[in-house]
Symmetry: C2
Subunit: 376 residues, 2 copies
């Protein structure tokens, strides 16, 4: 994997870069649509590729391990072939599911015992077997196994957890370095900074994580319920420490506003279920603000969904039609909203990159942050 | 509306025709995908057009009347504009919903009082207001308001009901003839033959219906649970009487096998929810038989969904992947199966037409009937 910096903003820490790996190029800053179980929900692969123009998508190790399971994935030749996606893929490590399925798991130094959300069956995840699982899935970028702490989290727990995440990282690196990819393409391991909302812990973690000198670095444990200002403070602190010549990935973030602010702090990669999950529920993100398409006010608005977009869903369908589909729980409504939102998110990061390269990012960002967070 | 016969099979009653109306041409025999509430479920309009190559789709008057409602449809300029579909549309009259929502309605000579399946609100449908509603929806082909009898149905009820359907037809014709289309394109009213599974009633009804000399004729009250042989017998009997120079539409039919057999009896138009509804549940129709994609046997079948098809879903995805999506209840699975099945249904009627024109229909039909009804 190669990462080249192509430009920097003068008034913020924003950067434009280019990642190259065996499945293609990724222009940063980038947003990665979430394809939890090997499908970006409600969207055909050709639409993810041609209409949304996603450059990389994300898969969830925990979900893929449970279903379709490793045997199916291995015999398919990995996730790329299984789902028919030839561009880069990143997989998380399951650390976030350990956090979000808190009621069903037990964390120990050795690893995590967890009960399946599907059938209650018992499974054990360790830094080692999570690396092995990600070898089988075969993503281009794989994530270290970490503990994602909740918000709020008391200092002593945050510190102990972070230290365990660091020990787990050593085990992850060891396992990855003593094994090989299964499908002939390189896999890059990204470690994850933790430390909850404590600046000193975040600094310690960032320094520790950077010392492993992997091909990229990630920030976890944010966007778990803390105020946005606190998230920005932590992300900013960590970006100061993480090496500038490697991509920085802020996990699970966020709203269009969050993404713009974090680009300004020096983040290069983002993922979030918001555009698809909230889309399926009728929330549309646009340049001019947020639309709840189920509202009565759109009932007879026959204008196209987004007059600023050239995406087919934004030109083919009206707001009134989409509202009708959403109110009637028609599947097509979820399809349209998901494509619209992801197309917008990809437009947003692509435009941010252009503004960075043109030296106009900071002003543009400040204007856009106001626009995108309005309620229409 | 114009209907031209382009060819006839010598060994059966099958015909190849061409309907021309203000929204385009329809080559018959044709299958019409069902778009109940203004959406062919789980499929984008551009896919219905370009990938499935549907020439006409069906909308349900009852559903569209309830949601989005007439005000929204009227101000949109009709259903074509509302949903962004520029090819022909046919709407049913709600007669079938009167049948299928039997618990919630009361039938009188004047019309039918019915409770909404959405919110329990009360509505009254009469031959007159159903014509008015279909004027507002604006389909190219509109259906007479009829009573669809259940199976089995005793003779005296079937006879009385049929006679009322005939009286209702007079009222439908009167209303249509004294009103005008709202959006500048012509609307053709098709009357519906009833008479349950009684040959003499079917003959009486077909003669009565034909005497109205409308632009096309339909056969209703079949495919409601009777054995296929009985359906073929009734359809065959009616086709002998309905005029040959007008299209014949068999409502709500059916399996690929049913369609082939009924083409052989002289039917020109079909609609059915089966390809989409059963598709959403994992049943795939192919040239070689029926696949239940949820079965364990497809778990590691990495071959494409249908090697005989050039539709994108059949080439882009494997059986193992589609099975994974279906087992996990991923929306994309429903999208893929729906497109596959409708593409196959359209292929089937297109191929039938070709075989009719080439004089090879009968043998081909007998071979295909065996193939398509196998379980794979």
């Amino acid at each position: 994997m190669k990462f080249e910096l192509k430009g920097k903003d003068k008034l913020s820490k924003a950067r434009a870069g280019e990642i190259t790996n065996d499945h293609g190029k990724i222009l940063t800053p980038i947003f990665m649509p979430v394809g939890t179980a090997g499908s970006v929900k409600a969207i055909h692969q050709r639409e993810v590729r041609k209409d949304i123009e996603a450059q990389i998508i994300l898969g969830n190790t925990y979900h893929l391990y449970l279903r379709p399971g490793l045997e199916v994935l291995k015999n398919a030749g990995g996730l790329h072939k299984f789902m028919g996606w030839e561009r880069p893929i990143l997989t998380d490590s399951g650390g976030y599911q350990v956090y979000s399925l808190a009621a069903n798991r037990k964390i120990k130094e050795e690893g995590v015992a967890i009960k399946s959300h599907i059938d209650g069956s018992s499974h054990f995840f360790s830094p080692e077997n999570v690396m092995d699982i990600q070898r089988v899935i075969g993503a281009d970028i794989i994530m270290a196994f970490d503990e994602c702490t909740p918000y709020p989290c008391d200092y002593s727990y945050a510190k102990k957890s972070m230290e365990m995440t660091h020990r787990w990282l050593e085990r992850c690196c060891k396992r990855v370095d003593e094994t090989s990819p299964l499908y002939g393409h390189h896999q890059s391991l990204f470690p994850i900074v933790q430390g909850s909302t404590y600046k000193d812990l975040r600094r310690i973690s960032a320094e520790k994580i950077a010392s492993f000198e992997r091909e990229g670095n990630a920030i976890g444990g944010l966007s778990v319920g803390e105020p946005a200002e606190l998230m920005y403070e932590m992300a900013g602190e960590v970006c100061e420490i993480l090496p500038a010549d490697k991509p920085r990935y802020l996990m699970g973030v966020g709203t269009p506003e969050n993404i713009l602010e974090c680009i300004a702090l020096g983040i290069d990669m983002f993922d979030c279920v918001m555009p698809t999950r909230n889309g399926r529920n009728g929330m549309l993100f646009t340049q001019n603000g947020i639309i709840n398409i189920k509202n009565e006010k759109w009932k007879q608005d026959y204008s196209v969904i987004d007059e600023n977009s050239d995406c087919f869903v934004d030109k083919d369908y009206s707001k009134a039609y989409l509202r009708h589909l959403m109110v009637g729980k028609e599947i097509l409504g979820m399809q349209i909203a998901s494509i619209h939102n992801l197309h917008f998110y990809l437009w947003l990061v692509t435009e941010a990159r252009k503004q960075i390269l043109e030296g106009t990012f900071y002003e543009w960002k400040n204007k856009m942050v106001k626009q995108v967070s309005r309620r229409l």
